[in-house]
Amino acid sequence: MSKLTLKTEGDTHVVVTRRFVAPPEIVYRAHTDPKLLQKWLLGPEGWTMPVCINEARPGGKIRYEWTNGKGGGFHLTGEYLELEPYSRIVHVERMHLPNPTPDNHIETRFDADGTGTLMTMRMTLPDAQTRAAMLATGMERGMEASYVRLEGLI
């Protein structure tokens, strides 16, 4: 089954959906427990997340630091706004590349889908230009494609 969808919505949103076999409680925990996040939120092969701060409460801080072990790395900071275990998380985040990108406001829903979960992540960027930049470059690093040589694509 093709599980992931990624699409733009309106001028400022990006919506990602993904289905999981596990129920919402488990998927929610894997999104808020630092030890678990360090196992999967990693990017390309060879990248690790040596620093993972995730204070899962309203106002709690988020800080993820990634490294490729060869001197390459970047980090992300954010804050939690709302948490409804085990169905909904609202937070803001920004990438430091090294300058901070404009805030990305993200609502993540975990809805029961049979015995599994449908996750819907709705990102809201401040404006259309920022979304464009994120899709073209920010996600390139943040979503782990930095090592792909673009020249071959164009």
Binding site: V21, A22, I26, A30, W40, P44, M143
Partner: protein
């Protein structure tokens, strides 16, 4: 990283609703600036300005036909964006594939007793 810059320009170009509408119109076939301006209630210079942005982003190309300069969609540019989005999906999918493995090792929540 020319390619990256061009993609950046392409996504920026698409951030404008008028430019998206122009592209949608051109997807149906070639059109001149005059033809493009008609449905948008915009002046030709304004449309030309939008076309310039789309052209430098590699999404639209012009053809010379006598005194006319009909524009059409640049297939390569659109395909590059498609490929890019497909790659982003794939990149994200790698994280979530790993998450699937993590989930499989986690304890299931206690099931309701009633069956």
């Amino acid at each position: 990283m020319n390619g990256s810059l061009k993609l950046d320009a392409a996504f920026s170009a698409l951030a404008d609703p008028t430019r998206r509408a122009i592209l949608a119109r051109l997807a149906k076939g070639e059109a001149t600036v005059m033809e493009l301006a008609a449905p948008f209630e915009m002046t030709q210079p304004a449309i030309s300005q939008h076309l310039k942005v789309l052209e430098s982003a590699g999404l639209v190309v012009r053809r010379v036909e006598g005194t006319k300069r009909p524009r059409h969609i640049a297939k390569g540019g659109i395909e590059a964006m498609d490929q890019w989005l497909a790659m982003l999906r794939k990149a994200l999918e790698r994280n979530y594939d790993r998450l699937d493995e993590v989930l499989a090792t986690m304890e299931q929540p206690r099931r309701r007793e009633k069956r």
